[in-house]
């Protein structure tokens, strides 16, 4: 009998890889409903352009390799849909397309495609465009002012500082933490809808598309550091509320850090990984160059995941290192 090492994600019970990807897609699409209701077709066009770019890049790469498409196309749709959620709505369309192209052509396909990628492709794509065009990536429109976004072309809007940027400068945001729950503040497209993200998280955990322990440890570590080392003069609880709800921290904790391919295989491993990613996110917020560091932190955590797995295996007395 020949035993072969299968690629992650490793799924047991009634869930399948396909059902996980579909749950993820449904959750991401749910995040588009409110922006479309407020701003028209532009959010859909941005998401569509990003998804199309990701798909095209994948198909081209596979054709170049002499291979056809496969069932795991849904994973590329997830990557394509995740990228614009981490970018402002007011960016030109080529920006999420560039991020998606990078995600597929550099972080996904060269490593063997879905299941073999060591890094979260969406995080890699967004990190890349953040470094190349930081002014565009971290410039947000003010939702409290009139704004219009045509489906294609540049929009008309006022620019405002996001709570994450204000925290980075060491000041307290004007918006109250409770008001942030409604999502009416400057920030990335899909990362400001706090309540929707929470609901999506519950959906993903119940359908098995994500592991709750990773998210909880991520948020726990971030909250602990925010409480112990607040960036602004306020109570620990206020600091925690601002840090969790600003930027893309919550979005990453629900959608990205739970990626079954790049996260560890064991329960204690996932807890450690989540905590490490949360701590790294806060480290990037404190010491990084940009107001948001969740994507960068996630990439570092992805690199640490096999090391964490290996350490857990060794502690349990299992043979061999991570494959």
């Amino acid at each position: 009998m020949t035993l072969t090492n299968a690629a992650p994600p490793y799924v047991k019970s009634e869930f399948t890889v396909s059902s996980m990807m579909h749950s993820m897609l449904a959750a991401l699409l749910a995040l588009l409903v409110i922006p479309v209701a407020h701003y028209g077709l532009r959010p859909l066009v941005a998401a569509g352009a990003s998804v199309l770019t990701a798909l095209l890049c994948r198909i081209l790469f596979r054709l170049f390799r002499g291979k056809g498409g496969s069932v795991s196309e849904a994973s590329v749709l997830v990557t394509g849909l995740m990228v614009p959620m981490l970018l402002p709505l007011n960016t030109p369309l080529w920006l999420p397309c560039t991020a998606s192209a990078f995600a597929v052509l550099v972080a996904l396909e060269p490593f063997g495609g879905f299941g073999r990628n060591p890094f979260n492709p969406a995080a890699a794509g967004v990190a890349f465009v953040s470094l190349c065009w930081p002014k565009r990536v971290f410039s947000y429109f003010d939702p409290s002012q009139p704004a219009s976004f045509p489906a294609f072309g540049a929009g008309v809007f006022h620019v405002a500082q996001s709570p994450a940027e204000i925290l980075k400068q060491g000041f307290k945001p004007e918006i109250l933490p409770l008001d942030m729950l409604w999502g009416n503040f400057p920030g990335p497209l899909g990362s400001t809808l706090i309540l929707v993200i929470g609901a999506c998280g519950l959906l993903l955990f119940l359908t098995g598309a994500g592991k709750a322990e990773t998210t909880l440890c991520f948020l726990g570590a971030a909250a602990l550091i925010a409480a112990a080392f607040p960036r602004i003069l306020c109570s620990p609880l206020t600091s925690v509320k601002y840090e969790i709800m600003s930027g893309s921290l919550l979005f990453c904790s629900v959608f990205m850090v739970t990626d079954p391919v790049t996260s560890p295989r064991t329960f204690p491993g996932r807890c450690l990984y989540g905590a490490f990613a949360g701590a790294m996110t806060m480290a990037f917020r404190w010491f990084g160059a940009y107001e948001q560091g969740a994507c960068f932190a996630l990439l570092v955590a992805n690199a640490a995941a096999p090391v964490i797995d290996s350490a857990v295996f060794r502690l349990r007395g299992w043979e061999g290192a991570a494959a």
Binding site: V106, P110, L131, C132, W133, P134
Partner: protein
């Protein structure tokens, strides 16, 4: 005469291996730092290439002469000392040919003394091969290093908007191409391209041998 022809053919093969088929950067994963950190414009690439050639060739030839005379354990120290000695004239040559290049390179110029390509070729290859082979190897590695440096510099210059391509008019220039990560990503794709080329070449070579067999 026949011996000289064989020696020349061998030297040409060694040169081509160093420059392309066994490029020390793309196949050996050596000497990546100067390319990743500094080869983001053509002036830097030129300066790095001049420095590499001016350090590598004399160092390798000296080690070819002296390498077997010193204890094996002392060779790394000798390589470093010889390379350090040749760095001053190499730096002056680079500054003469490309004014201001050495100071523009900063720390990267000084670290060329311990470049891993130079070190491995001078320490392992040079003492155990004849001078012609050593010279061919050094020239080939220098050409290979220069090729990769210029390719990387060209792509990164376009990315930074310092060189504009006619078909990309209006595309906004990015930044961050001068950061090491951009160099590594480019090196990864160049290495993949060379690996693909080498595999194709090996396949054709095997096919040719198979056809010749009775």
């Amino acid at each position: 005469m026949k011996k000289n022809r064989l020696l020349l053919r061998g030297a040409v093969q060694i040169f081509l291996n160093g420059m392309l088929f066994r490029n020390p950067v793309l196949v050996g994963a050596l000497g990546m730092y100067p390319i990743a950190a500094a080869a983001w414009n053509l002036k830097n690439a030129a300066a790095l290439s001049v420095l590499f050639l001016a350090l590598s060739l004399p160092s390798s030839l000296v080690l070819c002469l002296l390498g077997m005379l010193v204890p094996r354990w002392f060779r790394p120290a000798l390589v470093l000392l010889v390379s350090a000695a040749f760095y001053v004239p190499a730096g002056r040559l680079a500054d003469l040919l490309i004014p201001g290049s050495v100071s523009a390179l900063g720390m990267v110029a000084g670290l060329m003394i311990c470049n891993s390509i130079l070190f491995s070729r001078a320490e392992e290859y040079a003492p155990e091969h004849v001078a012609v082979a050593v010279a061919a190897d050094s020239l080939g590695c220098s050409a290979g290093f220069a090729l990769v440096a210029f390719l990387a510099a060209l792509v990164r210059s376009v990315w930074l908007g310092k060189i504009s391509l006619p078909f990309a008019a209006g595309f906004p220039a990015g930044r961050a191409a001068d950061l090491p990560f951009a160099g590594f990503l480019l090196l990864g794709f160049l290495a993949a391209f060379l690996q693909w080329g080498n595999r194709l070449r090996a396949r054709h070579h095997a096919e040719r041998i198979r056809r010749r067999m009775p």
